[in-house]
């Protein structure tokens, strides 16, 4: 029997998500309109990128708290380069280089100096927040106009936004890497037991540095997507909100926060779940003050539901 528990986890979130859709649809038929679906698909892109990067980090038994503020920083890096050169190419290269450098730095501190990822990335969160305001003259906003931003932010291909397609492509790529390459197996191994992975000949340090570089790269992409969606960048964007939504998405999608277990499919459904809630709260004109209550209660309910499911599985096992 192929991994029943895993299937249950994924199905679980699928059912909950679909049920939620139904409820929202009954409240407002517009919820399931094509327009709104594509709006959701675009809104989830930055959170999705954060979730995907975080997925591998969490899988390896670590956490990257710097992803949210990192994406704000990288959006601004792009903006600064755009402001200087008026073009995008150099800015994107700069974002990729900077993000990989940040990831490498995080990874080195975690892998080589054995510092807890939580601490390293918490300090990077603060540093990114600071730098995002310091590299932009006087903290002003920068406008990003032009073909690239319009293309990525607004153009569609077969009815789907390019940015969403990019996200889906990246998830697909990640799925292949996770399930069909040595690297995926190595990340699971490290997340389960670093010591055992090392004994089996896995280069644990390289895996750790790798996941942090990937997560930082994802936050770089998230930064680019943020900038194309907004048409401008400015420091002081709420990166932590993005981060927490991203983490919530993968945990709701069944990833074990302690590492070693999770599926890409689950992470994707978790992402849809978060995206739908965010969208519905606005769309259904839920009074603003209730947004947070609702979101917190839904996450708690999802956690509780998982627990009940887990308990019943325990009983079955006996």
């Amino acid at each position: 029997m192929p991994d029943l528990s895993r299937l249950m986890r994924e199905k679980n979130i699928i059912f909950v998500t679909l049920a939620l859709c139904l409820v929202f649809y009954m409240i407002s038929p517009r919820f399931l309109s094509l327009d709104n679906m594509s709006a959701i698909s675009r809104q989830i892109v930055p959170i999705g990128l954060i979730a995907l990067g975080q997925f591998f980090v969490v899988l390896s038994g670590n956490i990257d708290l710097s992803m949210g503020m990192g994406s704000v920083l990288f959006a601004i890096v792009l903006g600064v380069f755009f402001g200087m050169t008026g073009g995008v190419a150099l800015g994107i290269v700069a974002v990729i280089v900077c993000s990989l450098a940040l990831g490498f730095f995080n990874g080195m501190l975690v892998a080589k100096l054995k510092l807890p990822a939580f601490i390293v990335t918490l300090s990077m969160l603060f540093c990114a927040q600071g730098l995002s305001g310091l590299i932009i003259p006087r903290g002003q906003q920068i406008f990003l106009m032009g073909g690239f931003f319009r293309f990525v932010g607004a153009e569609k291909f077969m009815g789907l936004y390019w940015s969403f397609l990019f996200l889906v492509a990246l998830f697909a790529l990640a799925w292949v890497v996770y399930n069909h390459t040595r690297w995926g197996a190595a990340v699971i191994a490290v997340g389960n037991s670093e010591e055992n992975a090392r004994l089996a000949g896995v280069n644990v340090d390289r895996v750790k540095i790798g996941v942090f570089m990937f997560s930082a790269l994802c936050s770089g992409f998230a930064g680019i997507m943020l900038s194309t969606r907004m048409g401008f960048v400015q420091p002081g964007l709420d990166g932590n909100g993005l981060l927490l939504d991203g983490i919530a998405a993968i945990i709701i999608g069944g990833t074990l926060i302690l590492g070693g277990r999770g599926t890409i499919g689950g992470a994707f459904w978790g992402l849809l779940f978060i995206g739908i809630i965010n969208n519905a709260l606005n769309l259904l004109n839920v009074e603003d003050v209730w947004h947070q209550v609702f979101k917190g209660a839904v996450i708690l309910a999802a956690l509780g539901a998982n627990w009940i499911l887990w308990q019943s599985r325990q009983v079955e096992a006996h």
Partner: protein, 342 residues
Amino acid sequence: MKLKTGLMAATALAMFGAPVLAADDTLDIVFINDGHVAPYHVAWLSGFEDAIKAYDEAFDDVKVTGRWLSAEGSLEKMIQQTEVTINEGPDVMFVNAINVDAFEPLVAKAQEAGITWIAVHSPMDSADYSFTLGDVVNGTNQGLAMCALSGGEPYKVAIMLGQAGNPSGEARHEGILKGIAACDNVEVVAEQPADWDTVKAQSIAENWLTQYPDLNAISGVTDGYMYPSIAIAMNGGRELDFYGYDGDIPILQQMTDGSVKADILLSGTREGWNFVQMAYRIHKGETPDKVYDFFTPLVLTEENHKVALANGFPEDVQVYYVDQALDVAAKGYLEFGPDSVK
């Protein structure tokens, strides 16, 4: 090298924020603001910094110094900053209080220490002066402009509000509704607070565009909401009118090509310059009105103004055209520079 200079500048600010160099006559101004992140804040604080420098250079007899502090939205932090500032004894304090009642004891303490207290935006009886904006009037002007430019056809507008409970935001909101009430073709289809947050504004705009396919306009109580709204509409290929508030330069620039119909010329830069001018005048012995109302005209293009007037827009409302507005917004010294007091 921007990073490095930024760092150095900031470090210098930290270390020598309040130099006590002896000069014959000194004027030390501290501006305590509720934030530093929103585009309006950025312009405001840099206008203030520029003005300090300009006044210091322009007048040899007075050493003009100043700095700003940001409470980052926290009332607690603001109270602490105010207490420390009172301890250091500047000459003039501008305080943009998050909650005026909490500051009453501090006003007394500051006055005891001989500091001139200027309450910003929300007037205080106990303060020496209050610097106000006329939010209701400005909002009404925005609403009236909407009426006059809507063309008489049914016209659906969505209004993006400030943080619930914020006095400025609510006064502007009140004004806008008052202005809109002047005609009956304009219908408010949605209202939602975006908490002065540009990112939140973006999601809201996105959902509005989905939800109301026949939406004609978005009105906002701050220009900060206009940036994402314009971007979303443009990306979605929708032709919408925008009614802004604040006079942010990038938004003013979008008036000539048509998408932004009207704006209120507060302009952070202007306000920052006006602070320093006001402090300087007081220092020189002038006594402004106890409640000093910031001059905030409506901004329209010349054509639109004509159209509006033809549609019954009141003639006594002061209007700046875009060029003029841009000019004074970019160059705060035109209205409030050292030359204005010489």
